[in-house]
């Protein structure tokens, strides 16, 4: 059964660094690059997250997937070594390194045994600043990515989510898939990849975060040495992006599968919006954990769905609140009706104190549990930086969640679940 992520920590102790986990050290280099280091003696490991503000947010349908494509070619080799040599060198550190494009950023992430932190940082810098981007690698990586797109299309849940975001976001780039499409990748040539890399890989667009069993001063000095020589990239004009307008439509389509997929939702606030915490609580009340309403009512009580959850991921521009069911084709109609009843209920009846308290405990517990491994700690450090919300965000978020009242939940439910977009995928 799905007993999802392992979560804990009481609300009261949330935000308190654990034994051995120090506050992060932050430094902005003269060239604009930000470095964050957190010392964490929990295990003999180190993790690095290098985020660059480059992703689907800056893409268009014609070049969708280019940020991720660039990273796929980057890991094929640097000025100093081939992709195979890089893989071998990283494996010798007990490590791993990978690079992907995401929505609001792209990431090079690496981790290894902490005694190799210096080597790991060196390989990260080499990959970021001296990728070979060889013309001969483009075709092979394109084929590989097209294979992944195909795999994603074959997966009913992934396909349903992609269709949902495309429908909900319309002309906004959040409608695009991070992987792109076979057509868009087919149009992107070597020159376009190099130009895209040069446009975004600039010191002032980069944030380097390190977390692990390391000494912050040593890491800072090494990071300065590796990244300090980079020159500023100069001015950058942000493209204008149309505000997404929830179309409130319902789309149904078919593909071979055992399970039916039902997604219902709307446009929701961005990460730094005053309503963010209240919508997170709303999302948790509906679909957070096994005591969430969708799980209890639709799965536990009525057996109408196997998967019953809600998603509301933090992003820079308007987010999406998605209620999601995976169920048998026979139950699909009933399940969708029941889901809409739950939406109606949360928009009309105030949430009780116990339920509100459970949701907050779950939400903050999950959040705290997610910030324990060094990989996640490094990512969070860099993420809050590139999202521009500041390193005190975690604490502000905790306070904001605790302050959410029943009336706030009712208000945001009415506001953000008033117009609903629906995508249904039925097995063929």
């Amino acid at each position: 059964m799905i007993r999802w992520a392992l979560v804990a920590l009481v609300v009261g102790i949330f935000g308190t660094p654990a034994d051995g986990v120090a506050q992060a050290t932050r430094e902005r280099l003269d060239n604009g690059l930000t470095i964050l280091v957190r010392e964490n003696a929990v295990a003999p490991v180190v993790a690095v997250s290098l985020l660059v503000t480059m992703g689907t947010r800056w893409e268009e349908p014609s070049n969708a997937g280019i940020s991720n494509f660039v990273h796929a070619v980057m890991v094929r080799g640097t000025a100093k070594r081939s992709g195979a040599q890089l893989a071998e060198a990283i494996a010798a550190l007990g490590g791993k390194i990978s690079a992907t494009g995401e929505v609001d950023y792209s990431e090079i992430r690496a981790s290894a045994l902490s005694r190799f932190w210096r080597e790991l940082l060196g390989f990260t810098a080499e990959l970021a600043l001296e990728p070979k981007l060889a013309p001969g690698e483009v075709g092979g990586e394109r084929d590989w990515l097209v294979g992944r797109i195909q795999k994603r299309r074959d997966s009913a849940p992934a396909r349903a989510f992609d269709e949902f975001f495309a429908t909900l976001y319309g002309a906004h780039p959040y409608a695009l898939q991070v992987l792109g499409t076979p057509q868009s990748l087919g149009r992107i040539d070597h020159a376009a990849l190099v130009a895209w890399y040069r446009r975004f890989y600039r010191s002032e667009r980069m944030t380097l975060a390190v977390s692990g069993h390391v000494a912050a001063a040593e890491v800072l000095a090494e990071a300065r040495r590796l990244f300090g020589r980079l020159e500023r990239g100069g001015s950058f004009t942000e493209p204008l992006r149309p505000a997404p307008v929830n179309p409130g439509t319902r789309r149904a389509f078919e593909q071979p599968a055992q399970q039916a997929q039902i997604l219902v939702g709307g446009i929701a606030p961005s990460l730094d919006h005053p309503d963010h915490a209240a919508v997170k609580v709303l999302s948790t009340i509906l679909g957070g954990g096994m005591a969430g309403r969708l799980f209890v009512e639709l799965r536990d009580k009525r057996g109408l769905a196997y998967t019953a959850s809600a998603y509301y991921d933090p992003v820079r521009e308007p987010g999406a609140l998605v209620l999601y069911l995976g169920t048998t084709p026979q139950n699909a109609t009933k399940a969708e009706e029941a889901l809409l009843q739950e939406v109606e209920r949360v928009r009309t009846e105030p949430v009780g104190a116990n339920e509100l308290s459970r949701a907050k405990g779950y939400l903050l517990g999950r959040y705290a549990m997610d910030r324990r491994t060094n990989e996640r700690l490094a990512w969070y450090l860099a993420f809050y930086e590139v999202e521009g919300v500041g390193q005190d965000y975690a604490e502000r978020y905790r306070r904001a969640v605790e302050a959410v009242a029943s009336a706030d939940v009712l208000r945001v439910a009415r506001q953000y679940l008033g117009t609903l977009t629906t995508v249904v995928l039925r097995p063929r």
């Binding site: 059964m1 999802w4 392992l6 986990v21 290894a112 096994m290 799965r299 057996g303 196997y306």
Partner: protein, 449 residues
């Protein structure tokens, strides 16, 4: 992305990975700082084993109840019961009505999880350290007082059917499941852990309760406590809960032999996906067998990372697969090394031949010292990342105690270090032949393999 992938089917809708071979030890030579202390192991008078370790990575405690019972303990008339119990246990006890357990645990920011495998099942909580007493009381209550409310049993059937659909929709999970089926049938390791639809449909509360009473006895129970606790304070809590469970003899466990593999163990499955999947499996060492160390290193060398042989040859040089991985599933009665790949249907034959070539070369020429070293570092690293969280460490202990021994687990990395390249080549010769493997292929409809 490239963590070891010791894979085998497990019944849990969320994540498939059951850690089968325990890459770890608690006194890792490579730990320069803050080496993890040894866990305390005690046996209560009624047979419950208690393993406790202080771990202050954060202010939480992982509580895991491991049962020496899993899918392999089901009789032919009980298929799927171990997993069904896993679903039903959280539904309540006489003092805890349906729904109250999830609300309680989630309300104080904790979480629960449960897994069924062939040799074991386990029930996990992660809770704030302040709630350790409540957590242990809850686990002990679930261990003997589950009430299996009749209405809940019927509802849960639909959920289990959905879980079956979900696995079938995921080509990678389903490939592994079919590969185990083809490799082991009729041995219990070849059964689907979720059982068969027809049987689950007719399942009664009596059957469930009988199975529960037969297997949930103290001598089958291992309680693992890892987290921000004082170890000395745990025994009294456990004495007052698990210690009060009446002693009873566990049901005897059967040990049928796993069948030998040959070219008759083949299955081609037509699937809706556009890409093909290939899975090959060789019978190797079970837990408790001395060969596991060398087989584990060999698996790392073959297919664990981008620098592994299969990746470098079949993916990078020949470019005939999109992904390729090797995994080692070591169980008490048998082990299996699997190689799985995603590829174009036209390349199925070539890829299989290429995989066999890679293995043939290891048999003929052995592995290099650099490869052996990399495999060791990978094992050390895998363990170091596992112990970042209390639940990760608890899991290595629970798995070891139920399917192997805690001491073997604690000495694992140092044993690995003693394995030579010659020994790795020897297990390649002993277990990996040109004919003694099972094969499952997923072929897109309309394509010819």
């Amino acid at each position: 992305m490239w963590r070891p992938d010791r894979r085998a089917p497990a019944a849990n809708g969320a994540v498939l990975v059951v850690l089968l071979l325990l890459a770890g030890c608690a006194t890792v030579v490579g730990l320069r700082h803050g080496a993890v202390p040894k866990p305390a192991r005690e046996v209560l008078p009624n047979g419950v084993v208690l393993i406790v370790q202080e771990h202050r990575a954060s202010d939480v405690v992982a509580l895991q109840l491991w049962m020496r019972m899993g899918g392999r303990d089901e009789a032919a008339s009980e298929l799927g019961l171990a997993h069904y119990i896993e679903h039903m246990l959280f539904k309540g006890t006489p003092t805890r009505p349906p729904g109250s357990i999830d609300t309680l645990v989630e309300g104080f920011g904790g979480a629960s999880n449960a897994f069924t495998s062939y040799d074991t099942t386990h029930y996990d909580f992660v809770v704030p350290a302040a709630h350790v007493r409540g957590g242990i009381e809850l686990l002990a209550d679930l261990a003997v007082n589950a009430s299996f409310p009749p209405g809940e049993i019927d509802n849960e059937k639909k959920v289990v059917f959905e879980e079956m659909n979900l696995i079938e929709d995921d080509p990678e999970k389903f490939l592994l499941r079919r590969l185990y089926e083809v490799s082991y049938s009729p041995h219990p390791y070849g059964r689907p852990l979720l059982g068969q639809r027809e049987f689950i449909q007719k399942l009664t509360r009596d059957q469930l309760a009988r199975f529960y009473r037969k297997h949930f006895v103290p001598r089958n129970m291992v309680l693992v406590v890892v987290g921000a606790v004082e170890p000395a304070q745990m025994r009294p809590l456990v004495d007052a809960t698990f210690g009060r469970i009446a002693a009873a003899p566990p049901a005897p466990r059967e040990a049928p032999a796993a069948p030998a593999l040959d070219r008759t163990r083949r299955a081609d499955v037509r699937r809706a996906e556009k890409q093909a999947y290939l899975g090959l499996a060789w019978r190797t060492a079970p837990t408790g067998n001395e060969d596991i160390y060398a087989v584990d290193l060999l698996t790392y060398i073959l297919g664990d990372s981008p620098s592994s042989r299969l990746n470098q040859t079949v993916r990078e040089q020949l470019r005939i697969v999109a992904t390729i991985d090797a995994g080692y599933g070591a169980f008490e009665q048998a082990g299996l090394v699997t190689v799985t790949a995603r590829l174009e249907p036209a390349d199925l034959e070539r890829a299989e031949a290429a995989i066999l070539d890679v293995i043939r070369k290891v048999r003929a020429e052995g592995v290099t010292e650099a490869e052996r070293q990399r495999a060791l570092i990978t094992a050390e690293s895998s363990y170091a990342f596992d112990i970042e969280t209390a639940e990760g460490l608890a899991k290595t202990y629970g798995q070891a105690e139920t399917t192997w021994t805690l001491d073997n687990e604690l000495g694992y990395l140092s044993r690995l270090r003693g394995i030579t390249a010659t020994q790795i080549q020897a297990v390649a010769r002993k277990y990996f032949g040109d004919d003694n493997y099972a094969r499952v292929r997923f072929v897109p409809e309309g394509a010819s393999p």
